[in-house]
Structure formats: C-alpha cells, structure tokens
Amino acid sequence: MAGGPTATSDFDPARFFAARSDGHGRRLGIEYHDHGADWAELALPYKPDQIGDPERGVIASGPILTLMDMATSISAWLKRGMFAPQATLDLRIDYLRPATPHRTVIGRGECYRVTRSIAFVRGQAHDGDPDDPLAHVAGTFMLLDMPA
C-alpha cells in the first residue's frame, strides 16, 4: 500500500513528527518514513551515541526498542483514526541479528487488532532489505481514553 494520509484517518504521523520539539525519539534522531491505514515506518539514522558495542560500532538494542515502540504506537493511532492517549502494556523483541554499523534502521509497526481497551501490534526492523530483518516485535497497548 502506498503511503500518505488515508480518507479514514485524521491522524497524520508526518505532521505529528514535524510538530515535536523534544523527547526521547527526537534525542535519538528518529524520523518519519512512511505510513498506511494501519502501519507506520520510522527511520533511525546511525549515530555514534547509540552505540552499545564500541569494539564493533554496533548500536545498542535500546534505540531499536524505542524505534519499535514508537512505530507500533503510531500504527495503533492510524488504525483507530485518531490520536489518543495509550500506554505500552508489554513489548517483546527478538533481536535476529546486529544492526549493520552506519546503516539507517527502518522500523515498521502494524496494528492488526483493536478492541475496546487494547491495541495489538507487531512489527519488524531492517537496515536496507526488508527480507533480511534484524528485529521482530510483538506488543500490546492499553487505550487510556476507553473504559476497561
């Protein structure tokens, strides 16, 4: 599916990213990349202060975790067609391989199910080839604007 806002959603992640002035995602350099009706892609450009393994120049797992938390969170707002407060309940990440030094990591989050109070999400991260992912994620968000 091509990117760009959809007719059903009032939430525009590109504008959401342009508007922010501080926060952890901005500190890491995470940027908007692409989105559809129930998915979003964010980019994490390589920066030396993300490194977790100085000997090999490989970035830590933490920045990838933040990237996937944000990409999946945005996918839930897209699927719901609105921006509303939500809290991460749990997030599981499998680190399939180290990220290649100096490459931008692309994180894709997808919201595959929303109930009255929970958004179920999944996603993958790669550094150039989507068929060679470096991380896989599954998680849930609690919707804070809805009665439990």
Binding site: D22, G23, H24, G25, R27, L28, P48, D49, Q50, I51, G52, D53, P54, I59, A60, S61, G62, P63, L65, T66, L67, D69, M70, P85, A87, T88, L89, D90, L91, R92, I93, D94, Y95, P98
Partner: protein, 127 residues
C-alpha cells in the same frame, strides 16, 4: 565494565550495591528521555532495563571475557514513569555455558512499586 556511549546518552550512573547483588543503575530525568508529556518514554525505560541486565550479566561473568549477545527481551510496563530519577537492577537467574537468563526491574521512589520489569535471554559467545 565500562558503560557504552548509549548509556551516556541516557546519562546512566552506577550506584553502590550490596555484596553479591548486581550494581544499581540510575537514570536522571531529562527532556531527552521524555515520551508523552509528563511521562518517561517506554523506550528509555526499556533501554535502562537492558543496560541493568547487561551490567548484571558482566558482573556475574567476572573476569570471563565472553561476549554477550541479546537474543530477546520482554518488557512489562506497570506504571507510568514520572519526571524523576529512575533506578534499575538486574539479576542473573541462570548462567549457563551458552545462554544466560536475566531479569531486571525499574522503580522510582519505592522499589516495591516497580514501574517496569524485563526478562531477557542472552547468548554467551566465547572466542
């Protein structure tokens, strides 16, 4: 162990610890770790938990110069992190020859009221 650049980005410091327990890591509140207004970013909390787990694992390995590779992490977020210092400590629940199971917990004012917890598997690589 020397903390990597990512730990410096989170402004982590190592606090003293009891004999036998892993070091406690402290993460000060800064706008750089903010998520939605008034709350810590879940990714920063997760990053802190992972660093606490890695520090605990290196502590348990002692002089063994093995490399550790994260295989996976599962994080439960229990309470919103507020605008104050967050602490985390890891515990190695099993140290095998190839795999280590590590848990970590993060809290703010009261250790008995954790804001998040994590479970991790690490591969231990010896050259």
């Amino acid at each position: 162990m020397k903390l990597p650049p990512y730990a410096e980005l989170l402004k982590l410091t190592v606090e003293s610890h009891e004999d036998g327990a892993a070091p406690i890591l402290a993460m000060p509140f800064e706008s750089d770790v903010l998520g939605r207004p008034g709350f810590l970013h879940g990714g920063a909390i997760g990053g802190l938990l992972e660093m606490a787990a890695i520090v605990a694992l290196h502590d348990a390995l002692g002089n063994d110069d093995a490399r550790v590779k994260p295989v996976n992490v599962t994080i439960d977020f229990m309470r919103g992190g507020r605008e104050k210092t967050t602490r985390a400590q890891g515990i190695v629940t099993r140290l095998g020859t190839r795999v280590a199971n590590v848990e970590a917990v993060a809290w703010q004012d009261d250790r008995d009221r954790p804001i998040a917890g994590a479970r991790m598997n690490y591969l231990i690589a010896r050259s």
